[in-house]
Amino acid sequence: MSVDDTIKEIFASINMSHHLPEGTASVVIDQNKVLGRHLVPGLDVQAKELPDGIEATFIVAAGAKIEKPVHLCFGMLPEEGVQRIVMHVDIRDHAQVEVVAHCTFPNAVKVQHLMDADIRVGKHARYSYFERHVHGPDGGVTVVPKAKVIVEEHGRFKTEFELIKGRVGEMDIEYDVTGKEHSTIEMTARISGTKNDKIRINEIGHLVGEHARGVLNSYIAVRHQAQADIRNTLTASAPFARGHVDCKEIVQDEAIAQAMPVVKVEDPRAHITHEAAIGSVDSKQLETLMAHGLSEEQAVDLIIEGLLS
């Protein structure tokens, strides 16, 4: 298959045109090959091919504000194989960038997608990273994203992870984020698991600077025999640090969900709250939609769609 055809197939699998708007930076990776790379001033992406993946640096120059979201696409079209992504991200002081990443494995039977990232968000810099996974209907994917993040003074780090369409397979997310003075951390995961999917999330936020802020959100739905184990830890060790941990899980059929919000405060002037709710679909919500003529299954789907939106 030609490079162009591969790019087209990857974009088709995420339901997007491969013609991105003019001035949009993008990098397209298939397994361990960089198929396309388009950069804009202020953004530098260098990639080195590894036997089983890619090692890349992603740098936004100090003071640069990347106007349009940068599009990253990590794809793997074969049924089997390993894709290891090693990312070094440096959003330099006063820089701003928003990244939209798609990870697509539409034909996976036995695919491993391993991401190992170190991320630095500079002083007064802003880094927003949205990652959507598109998997096939049969699972067959093991996704293991790990990231270590430092957010410098007045920096903002926001990440959203979404896997709603297709089977999860096995997922093991580990994020460890440290926020310095006046920094802001916001991490959200929205995942829907079915059949024998296994979802494990271990997100840790350390608010080590004065007035640092942090929010960890997990919205998970598991059905059939799927399992979810969600651990969100937020610690505050500096004066006036503020944080919140929120975990909501909907459990249907024989699925099992476990949520462990851990909050730790080491300064009496800091404050962290948490909220965790696990249960079946609310019966009043269900009956409301059924009284509008939706079947029970349609009503459950709509409620879960709302929770994960």
Partner: protein
């Protein structure tokens, strides 16, 4: 024959009879009210007609358009044309007003969703993308629910305490929506203990302790309720099973 008929309807919880042989015939195309003091069995009647969980194990029968619906689930009753507006509408985290309305609507177009929002006095540009969650007040959720009912175009609407948690201005919108439902051919059954709501109805049924006490013109039943029920100091405790 009416659109809905309850025949000797009985329902007991923990040995206490909440509905006690209730037989009522509701004529189609009208606005009816079920009025009675707190604990009379009004909301229980609405929940039983809709077939909600916990209200299915009743005696007697419910006929809709002449056929028993006793064995039917909520969604099956809804697909026949029956729907319910709750006293306290549910909150749906993340589910937008637009999706909520369009999932129910007979005409699923965006234009119809917008029109339904206008019909309850909510600006679609401000509300359709908002979630039906805690960021909406109880009154706003109630109007969104009513918008979804208007878009659903049901044959029979059960509205449980439509004035609950509603300010005066919003209440006028709700009353206008009730009139609109009637104009469009729906039969409306208002569950209330409010005289203001009762005045929206043409016919009324006064119930107490799960029994029908009086029926007739809404004004007449209103006077009965106002003069004899509101001052009534007998405890409205459901009857014990004998």
């Amino acid at each position: 024959m009416g659109i809905l008929e309850t025949k000797e309807l009985t329902l007991a919880f923990n040995g206490s009879r909440i509905l006690d042989g209730l037989s009522i015939d509701f004529w189609g195309g009208h606005v009816h009210a079920i009025i009675g003091p707190n604990g009379a069995g009004k909301s229980t009647l609405a929940s039983t007609i809709m077939g909600l969980a916990g209200y299915r194990d009743h005696g007697g029968d419910i006929l809709f358009e002449g056929k028993s619906i006793k064995a039917l689930g909520i969604d099956e009753r809804a697909r026949l044309g029956i729907t319910l507006g709750w006293q306290e509408p549910a909150r749906f985290e993340g589910l937008t007003c637009e999706k909520f309305i369009r999932s129910a609507a007979k005409d699923k177009s965006m234009d119809r969703a917008r029109e339904a929002m206008w019909q309850v006095g909510l600006d679609p540009d401000s509300y359709l993308k908002r979630a039906v969650d805690r960021t909406l007040s109880g009154g706003e959720r109630k109007r969104v629910e009513l918008a979804s009912i208007l878009a659903l175009e049901p044959k029979l609407v059960l509205l449980d305490e439509p004035d609950s948690g509603i300010d005066v201005e919003a209440l006028e919108r709700i009353f206008a929506a009730i009139r609109l439902l009637k104009e469009k051919g729906s039969t409306v059954l208002l569950i209330t203990h409010s005289m203001a709501v009762l005045r929206q109805a043409e016919h009324a049924f006064l119930i107490c302790r799960g029994r029908l006490i009086d029926k007739g013109d809404a004004d007449k039943i209103g006077m009965h309720f106002d003069r004899q029920c509101l001052p009534c100091d007998h405890p409205n405790i459901p009857l014990e099973n004998e």
